[in-house]
């Protein structure tokens, strides 16, 4: 039981501090009201950084067995397919058709008025 007699817990506090700082940054950036594409990029970069910190240190992925890495790489690939292939369907449509906005704004307003 005492294989890690003096476990180094300092790293956890450091990660905690970093996570707090990043949370403050992401909220602060939001107050600047960047254009949507830039705001999304910045917010996602910060979220991915925070997520990596949690996964690497709290979940000890930084020193995990290869078996776990293999599972996660596989999951990441399928996650990627799942995220972006349906989106392709939204833009790849036969000429002259569109999946977006089936109604013109005017008729949309009347449909809204019904409830």
């Amino acid at each position: 039981m005492t294989e890690h007699g003096s476990h180094d817990v300092g790293i956890y506090y450091k990660v905690f501090g970093a996570l707090l700082v990043f949370t403050v940054i992401t909220v602060a950036v939001n107050r600047v009201h960047l254009a949507i594409p830039l705001a999304v990029t910045v917010a996602l970069i910060i979220a991915v950084t925070k997520g990596s910190l949690v996964a690497s240190f709290f979940m000890h992925l930084i020193s995990e067995s290869n078996q776990i890495y293999r599972v996660l790489v596989l999951t990441a690939i399928f996650f990627f397919f799942l995220m972006f292939l349906p989106l392709l369907g939204l833009f790849s449509t036969p000429a002259g058709t569109e999946h977006r906005s089936p109604l013109t704004p005017a008729t949309h307003a009347t449909a809204e008025g019904h409830h």
Partner: protein, 527 residues
């Protein structure tokens, strides 16, 4: 329209007045047939049943890695099954929007659909718990010496299957939650703005996307097809290897193909959606991946076929079923190619051709493999053989009848007959000539049912009265036969087995017997 013979008289007047089914009732039967057979029949039997019994035995494990999770998985399945079946007694009956539950139809359907969704969430949870248990068991509990390349094919295919269940099922769970929200909380995830139902504008907020359901559903349901077929291929490989009395041809190609197949099955799903207004970029992508995924299936099937070359085959009942699997799955697979290519799919989509294709894969394909497995592992589970004569009657009867049931579907489908029409689309001119096949198909279906009675009788009779079998009933090499008694006791093995050789060492020159079990220590002859 004629009433259904015999059975029609016993259907309630509310569902089938005068023995002629109402469309609403037909739709329930169609939707629930698919759901029950896929999610409550084949997957639990092939994975939960055979996987759970045979896999730990084949890898020399005392049990599954998490016995209590196994139990939880079973009870989730049980409750999910009860919810599904109970839904028949709801007002409006069970789910009636097809086993695919396409939206918006499913969102506006009767309350049975809500129960279908709840049942699905439970069944998915069951599969999820089962699959992680399988993966952990295979990685962690293999007997000493049992390296991955010494695993029996069945274990390999169960491993790939478990990964598919683990990673493909959650999106359907998410989709089920979203559809549940649409039905119960009044959201519009799948409902477009201004949707008109029965002449009325539906009072929903709109902005949803019906195609989202199809994407999430087929993200599961295409890997699901491989969940249905891979364990079956595994069973066939085991039975075949044992009855040809020589090593399987191409062990490694089969293993690598299965892994590749599992991987690719996640990127082919939209070939079910060519008719949804898909652009050329997207349809080209999915046609390409679909053509690519047919290659590993062919490699596996070819390896099994080539294994037969020059073998002294024992035509036992399980072997007959396993042999029949090969051409039947071949027909099922090859007829799938035109469905994976958009130009032909546009003609064949939602016709009986699709039904014929899919049923060739899972009925004379998977089900025959499951029968092979039952006849093959029955002596392991009970210590007795099943009766060979009854088994052969069962096989030949089923083999002939099942082809009469499903083959005409290709002809009907090519003629343009639509699926999911309660009267078979008889009011359409193009169905007039093709519909005549319904009569022989119906008779063959009854006969097919009758031949299953031989199996049911054989099964229960053999438990009590069957010929006693030795613990290695088929002179097999794999651990479940070589190292465990029949039936296996709690803990499976009297002493933990150790593995010294590959899975299928049959007829090795210089050995005293024509099979060398995996747990037989190396001798000077091996060097």
């Amino acid at each position: 329209m004629q009433p259904i013979p015999i059975i029609g008289a016993y259907l309630s007047a509310a569902n089938a007045p005068g023995g002629v089914m109402l469309p609403e009732f037909y739709n329930q039967l169609g939707a629930m047939h698919g759901t029950i057979m896929v999610f409550m029949g084949v997957v639990p039997l092939a994975v939960g049943g055979f996987g759970n019994f045979v896999m730990p035995l084949q890898i020399g494990a005392p049990d599954m890695a998490f016995p209590r999770i196994n139990m939880a998985s079973y009870w989730a399945y049980f409750v999910g099954g009860v919810v599904m079946l109970a839904s028949f007694f709801l007002p409006g009956g069970a789910a009636n929007s097809g086993w695919t539950s396409y939206v918006p139809l499913a969102v506006t359907a009767t309350v049975g659909q809500t129960w279908w969704l709840l049942g699905m969430v439970l069944l998915i949870t069951s599969s999820l718990l089962g699959s992680l248990n399988f993966i952990v068991t295979i990685f962690q509990l293999r007997a000493p010496g049992l390296t991955f390349m010494r695993l029996p094919i069945f274990v390999w295919l169960q491993l790939v299957t478990a990964y598919l269940l683990l990673l493909a099922f959650p999106p359907l769970e998410a989709a089920a939650v979203l559809q549940l929200m649409d039905r119960v909380a009044g959201t519009s995830f799948f409902l477009p703005s201004g949707l008109v139902v029965s002449g009325q504008i539906l009072g929903n907020s709109g902005g949803g996307n019906p195609l989202l359901w199809q994407h999430l559903f087929w993200f599961l349901a295409h890997p699901e097809v491989y969940v249905l077929i891979l364990p079956a291929m595994g069973i066939v490989a085991e039975v075949l290897a044992n009855n040809i009395r020589k090593p399987l041809w191409g062990y490694k190609p089969v293993v690598y193909s299965a892994i590749f197949l599992g991987f690719m099955s996640f990127v082919v799903w939209a070939h079910h959606m060519f008719l949804t207004g898909m652009g050329t970029t997207m349809s080209a992508f999915f046609q390409t991946t679909t053509m690519i995924i047919s290659i590993p299936s062919v490699v596996i099937l070819t390896s099994l076929f080539l294994s037969l070359w020059g073998a002294s085959i024992r035509f036992t009942t399980p072997m007959l079923f396993a042999l029949a699997f090969l051409p039947m799955f071949g027909i099922g697979g090859l007829t799938g190619l035109p469905l994976g290519l958009a130009p032909t799919d546009i003609h064949l989509h939602d016709t009986y051709y699709v039904i014929g294709h899919f049923h060739y894969v899972v009925a004379p394909g998977t089900l025959f493999a499951l029968f092979a497995g039952i006849y093959y592992w029955f002596p392991k589970a009970t210590g007795r053989y099943m009766n060979e004569l009854l088994g052969k009657i069962h096989f030949w009867g089923s083999f002939v009848c099942i082809n009469i049931v499903f083959f005409p579907m290709f002809i009907q489908g090519l003629a343009g007959m639509n699926r999911r029409l309660y009267d078979g689309g008889i009011q359409y001119a193009h169905a007039q000539t093709a519909a005549k096949w319904n009569m022989p198909m119906g008779h063959a279906a009854f006969a097919l049912w009758a031949f299953q009675l031989f199996f049911i009788f054989n099964f229960f009779w053999s438990i009590k009265k069957g010929r006693r079998s030795p613990s290695n009933a088929w002179d097999a090499t794999t651990l479940e036969w070589a190292a465990a008694p029949s039936p296996p006791p709690h803990g499976n093995f009297p002493e933990p087995p150790v593995v010294y050789r590959e899975a299928y060492e049959y007829s090795v020159p210089g050995h005293p017997r024509d099979f060398t079990p995996q747990n037989e220590p190396e001798t000077k002859r091996d060097k």
